[in-house]
């Protein structure tokens, strides 16, 4: 990396680090050409690449359908992942049944790969639940809205694996903004001093709502790891093959007892932070144009088309599958009913509480006291 010149004034920062360079792992160019990398390689069949393509398309379609549902008033909020499909599918497909993912609130692609029905995620965004799924069912933790908290949970989980002989690893997902949080840095400390089997998977999508990367770090994020004493690697987050290779390697390291790795998936948040955000207030369309040329799905499609590994029938079948998953998502979301008001008292404690029992009775009687009470 070229050394950075000190800024002349406090606010005059150099531009963000360029994405090219020897520390940027890439196995598939934006134009869809396979390339090699000195350290990372991927043994993969055409069929597997077709599967990855299908994953990418379906994940994008889930995301766009959910966005539409929000615009139609069926969800209160949606966190878009447009542009980050390859980062999530690459990591998601590297995870095995033995591994446990700790997401933020945008990892719908990882959820998909872990076998979570996309409708399961919708309650949180619709306002009918706060998550509610069983993390053990798919090895996929609940969405955590406080930024960075889950990196400590992942680290603790990894410490548990060390103690009970589990042979998997934990993967903590977080963004460039989260890397500033104390909890994330504490997680790096813990993971390193305990040599915990955890992979820190950072999707650097360049934005934390409206704040650009240079407000979170002065050096490339993957280099942070060195300060804590474990390896960091930057990968082209829009290259599903590279992400898969790097994530697999990092998970293997963790599982074999070599400790944590920081993977920085360098990508771009093509959409807004959430459906309530207006990115036109803080970034220019020209940036989007640059990144459109690096679209994660287009490059795989180009590869499949050029090599003949994917034909028209295949692409049509993928579109059909996308339509199906979108319809399934729509139907499932519309069917999510408002919870019964009295259910707010459920699940506060595993062991119950006398105070809650009393309050539940009071609310019950209060609700029943209205002439139009539903019975």
């Amino acid at each position: 990396m070229p050394p950075m010149a000190p800024p002349e004034t406090a606010t005059a920062l150099p531009p963000p680090q360029p994405s090219e360079g020897p520390d940027f792992v890439q196995l598939l160019t934006p134009e869809g050409e396979r390339v090699t990398h000195a350290q990372y390689s991927l043994d993969i069949t055409d069929e597997e690449i077709r599967d990855l393509y299908r994953d990418l398309v379906l994940v994008r379609r889930i995301d766009s359908e959910a966005t539409a549902l929000q615009r139609q008033g069926e969800l209160g909020l949606w966190a878009n992942l447009l542009g980050q499909e390859a980062a999530q599918v690459g990591a998601g497909r590297a995870l095995t049944d033995r591994d446990f993912a700790f997401p933020t609130y945008r990892e719908h692609g990882v959820a998909y790969c872990k076998g979570v029905d996309p409708v399961t995620l919708m309650g949180l965004f619709r306002g009918t639940s706060q998550g509610g799924w069983d993390p053990q069912a798919n090895g996929f933790g609940l969405y955590t809205i406080v930024i960075g908290s889950q990196t400590l949970h992942a680290t603790g989980y990894a410490m548990g694996l060390q103690r009970d002989g589990g042979d998997g690893a934990a993967m903590a997902f977080f963004g460039d903004g989260a890397s500033s949080q104390g909890d994330v840095n504490e997680a790096f400390v813990w993971a390193s001093v305990f040599n915990a089997p955890v992979v820190f998977f950072c999707q650097n999508n360049q934005w934390a709502i409206s704040e650009p990367l240079e407000r979170q770090t002065r050096i490339p994020l993957y280099q942070r790891a060195q300060g804590f004493g474990f390896p960091g690697v930057r990968v082209d987050g829009n290259d599903v093959l590279a992400v898969l290779a790097v994530a697999r390697a990092a998970l293997a390291r963790a599982r074999e007892g070599s400790g944590p790795t920081l993977v920085e998936a360098y990508t771009y948040r093509m959409g807004a932070h959430t459906t309530s955000d207006d990115p036109t207030r803080y970034r220019v369309a020209a940036d989007l144009e640059i990144w459109k040329l690096k679209d994660p799905i287009e490059r795989v499609k180009a590869y499949l088309s050029r090599t003949g590994a994917g034909d028209a029938a295949f692409f049509a079948s993928v579109e059909a599958a996308a339509d199906e998953v979108a319809a399934h998502l729509r139907a499932g979301t519309l069917a999510l009913a408002d919870p019964d008001p009295i259910s707010i008292f459920d699940h506060v404690y595993a062991g119950g509480s006398t105070l809650l029992d009393e309050e539940r009775e009071q609310m019950s009687a209060y609700l029943a006291s209205f002439a139009d009470a539903r019975h």
Partner: protein, 474 residues
């Protein structure tokens, strides 16, 4: 069969209450697919495309470009089953409806290109996370009326709301307490204490058997016409045929004071029977006098006057035994106590400095004292610092008694009933109005001679009431 679905402007997650229509991408009659962009709505300086929630045919648009529409208002109607017979469409389109073709940006909804904010558009508050602020409630939801609303109580107590669950715990708990405590709110308890009323023996008429303010006031008044007796009827235990009444409150305090008085000061009672026929005539004449208009005149007034004059003659009777200082305090003023028997027990309010009052003033003071006591408003200060007391058993038709000294005093006069009695008058038997006076006194201070002389002097004034008449006429 056509199947129509309205689509209302949704809350787009920005605390939106309304939106402005910037552009329609469809018009009635157009076929639309699910998620096809149908309209562009302005929110907070950015345009938001809304994708079609249905597949079908647009049957009507309900607002035009430039209209500001409230969230929740239908903006478009679709026929989602256009194969059926056509139904008339409500046509509100304007000629300004524009249709935009392919955008510069990918067709994923939610991705907007460069916005074209309307000039002069208002700044709207963005809420970053959630479905925004809900409209507030402006009216109350109707309740089920489980019991008829109690009428507002006429004595000023606020109408009580029907018991709800949150108060049910109170009610049940209150019932458990009823046999331990009288149930009364703190202000009522304070009133009871001030009036010397024992809460325990009052039957509470409030909800859950609580004692109300009016219950206390009624109990304190006692004795007067129409006031109900509040002491409970005997409630004998069928097994023992006995009732146990707890010794508490005013009764306990009064008993203690009485005991202290009775067994500290040696009581001697002297009696005299006196012909008060002239005094009764004076009473009648005073009643007719203009200076006594509107004020009650009774034998008690003249007895009080006589007592005050007798005290002037024999001041030692108006004193107190100060054991701590080993002194007898002779009072130079008369705070005249009039014993009032109430169902609560004896209270003795006194008229301060009664010796300085003219007869009409004394009459007024006595009347006020009686009325206040009857209403239960006697203040503690009115019951303190008495120097001498009259107790009137005559109102009960009783001849006489041996009254116990009011603690802190040296003498108490007991006035009996005025009765027509055969009497020797000017050497002949005649029917005269005769009454008995009894004076109990503290024998440590008042010896037999003093006591007798005092009583005889007092009685003499009643027998010959001209000795009482010395007020200044107006």
């Amino acid at each position: 069969m056509p199947s129509f679905r309205d689509f209302a402007l949704p809350d787009l997650g920005e605390g939106l209450t309304e939106g402005e229509i910037l552009a329609w991408f469809v018009k009635p009659g157009d076929e639309v697919t699910l998620n096809q962009p149908i309209v562009e709505v302005e929110t907070a300086k950015a345009a938001v495309e809304i994708p079609s929630p249905h597949a079908g045919v647009v049957s009507a648009l309900h607002c035009a470009v430039g209209d500001t529409v409230d969230v929740g208002t239908p903006i478009i109607t679709f026929d989602v089953d256009p194969g059926g017979a056509a139904a008339p469409a409500v046509d509100l389109t304007t000629s300004e409806a524009s249709i935009r073709g392919g955008d510069l940006v990918p067709s994923e909804p939610g991705i907007t290109g460069s916005p074209a904010p309307k000039a002069g558009s208002e700044e709207k508050i963005q809420i970053l996370v959630g479905s925004g602020v809900k409209a507030s409630k402006l009216t109350r939801r109707a309740r089920v009326s489980a019991e008829p609303k109690p009428p507002a109580e006429s004595n000023g107590e606020p109408a009580r709301r029907p018991a709800r669950v949150s108060a049910a715990g109170v009610g049940a708990h209150a019932e458990r307490l009823a046999d331990v405590h009288a149930l009364a709110k703190p202000p009522v308890r304070k009133l009871a204490r001030d009036l010397g009323v024992d809460l325990q023996v009052i039957g509470g008429t409030g909800p859950d058997g609580t004692v109300t303010r009016s219950d206390v006031q009624a109990a304190a008044a006692g004795g007067a016409a129409g006031v109900r007796r509040v002491a409970p009827a005997p409630d004998f235990d069928p097994a023992t045929r006995e009732q146990r009444v707890p010794i508490k409150g005013v009764r306990k305090l009064t008993a203690e004071a009485m005991v202290a008085s009775a067994f500290t000061a040696p009581h001697v009672t002297d009696f005299i029977t006196v012909d008060v026929t002239p005094m009764m005539e004076l009473v009648t004449r005073l009643r007719e006098h203009p200076d006594f208009a509107g004020v009650k005149v009774s034998p008690l007034l003249l007895v009080a006057r006589a007592l005050i004059l007798a005290v002037e003659h024999f001041p030692m009777v108006n004193s107190a035994w100060d054991d701590d200082a080993q002194e007898i305090v002779v009072k130079g003023y008369v705070n005249l106590g009039i014993a009032a028997a109430t169902p609560r027990g004896l209270i003795v309010p006194n008229i301060k400095d009664a010796a300085r009052l003219s007869l009409p003033e004394l009459a007024r003071e006595m009347q006020t004292l009686t009325e206040v006591a009857r209403a239960g408003h006697t203040a503690p200060a009115d019951m303190a610092r008495g120097t001498i007391t009259i107790t009137n058993v005559g109102v009960f038709g009783v001849d006489s008694g041996t009254p116990i000294l009011n603690p802190g005093e040296t003498a108490i006069l007991c006035l009996g009933v005025v009765r027509d009695t055969p009497w020797v008058h000017e050497g002949q038997i005649a029917i005269r109005k005769v009454t008995q006076l009894a004076l109990s006194f503290d024998h440590r201070i008042v010896d037999g001679q003093l006591g007798s002389e005092f009583l005889a002097d007092l009685a003499g004034m009643l027998a010959d009431p001209w000795r009482l008449v010395n007020w200044r006429s107006q």
